[in-house]
Symmetry: C2
Subunit: 199 residues, 2 copies
DNA sequence: AGGTACTATCTAGGAGTATTAGGAATTTCT
DNA sequence: AGAAATTCCTAATACTCCTAGATAGTACCT
């Protein structure tokens, strides 16, 4: 009677799911696949994870945490354009290194609120971004708009790139560098809001 | 023996799938669900569509075509910032009106090449964007970079918005308008590439 | 050491889904 | 009308998510 417990845990199950997501894509992360990878029957997973949805949510939170940490490390001690570039590159690198985890962060949020409250990732990510952009001396609400623009651009680029949205004519790498230049320039001279400017 | 054929067709199946995607989300578009909606047995669908993957690919192509048409109509007769804003708003509106179809366009492309070749959407979308941005007098490779930046920003914004990525503090609508301002300004003064600029 | 409570895992099974194969009904062509 | 092609069905397989109830392992208490 080989019983030898696997020592499962919600975190271990989540990690196995995340690894699988990176290898075969998030949509192929199934309960049975995760169970197989852990050498366990599918039913056993339900002691640690409520459902497949729940597992996906946990993977998303894990990814958010990891990505935030990577970015925080990257921008530590940097300022201005250096910080912006480090931030952006860390973002893109995470998406490349962990495609499955990254797509998990894109799913519309239906995460257990009690669980989400314990995950520092999303909240810290926002703080990090705001504090970095504060170097550009923007006041609210421009700061919020700038944060949203930056996140949109970074996410959009990595997402399109991952989906094969860029033709192979010009290396995505080069376009990426120019986009960061452009973003930096833009943030430095954020257009003033002239509503009905008469001149 | 009530037989009364449903008059299925690859296009009709695709349309049913697209409608379903908008109603319940792309991930809940299953063969059985589409069959139920059409009043038909699941197996019948395989006469028109190779597999679920294939169906998703067809939905993606349909969406690309529709979105391109909407954008083309929106920018017809406009130029400069007017055209940019019309383009962007048409993009965002399509994503809002057809969330399921829109997410279908994001899936990594594994579409039947023979089928993709007949769909004008993606190719026309690229042409459309290039011709619109030509108004900003950019030369290659800057034009390509600008196109990619614009697509990234529009896609990123709508995608984050759909995923609930923006807190409710400030209306997404307002940030969107400012982002378009910023994008326009940026395109007008696209930063010259100073590699090792000594001054 | 032995008993007890807890929990991790298993066995068994229901319901839904994707897909294939082959057959029957209906339309269309001649 | 008869033949051919198309449209749809029935039947069957295999995989998925998930629940319930049983069993084996661990930890703690005395």
């Amino acid at each position: 009677m080989r019983m030898a417990r696997a020592g499962l845990t919600a975190d271990r199950v989540t990690l196995a799911g995340a690894e699988l997501a990176d290898e075969v894509g998030l949509e192929h992360v199934t309960m049975s696949a995760v169970a197989r990878r852990l050498g366990v029957k599918d039913a056993s997973l339900y002691a640690h994870v409520r459902s497949l949805e729940d597992l996906r949510g946990r993977i998303a939170l894990l990814a958010a945490d990891e990505k935030t940490i990577r970015i925080a490390e990257a921008i530590a001690g940097r300022a201005g354009k250096d910080a912006l570039v480090a931030y952006a590159n860390a973002w893109r690198k995470y998406a490349h290194d962990h495609p499955g985890r990254y797509t998990a962060t894109q799913i519309p949020i239906q995460i257990d609120p009690e669980l989400a409250a314990r995950a520092p990732g999303p909240r810290r990510a926002v703080e990090l971004t705001y504090s970095m952009l504060r170097a550009y001396a923007l006041d609210e609400p421009d700061l919020t708009d700038a944060v949203r623009l930056m996140r949109s651009t970074l996410h959009g680029f990595t997402s399109l790139e991952a989906a094969g949205g860029f033709a192979h004519s010009r290396p995505a790498e080069d376009s990426w560098a120019r986009c960061l230049d452009a973003l930096h320039t833009l943030l430095e001279r954020w257009p003033a809001h002239h509503e009905g400017d008469p001149s």
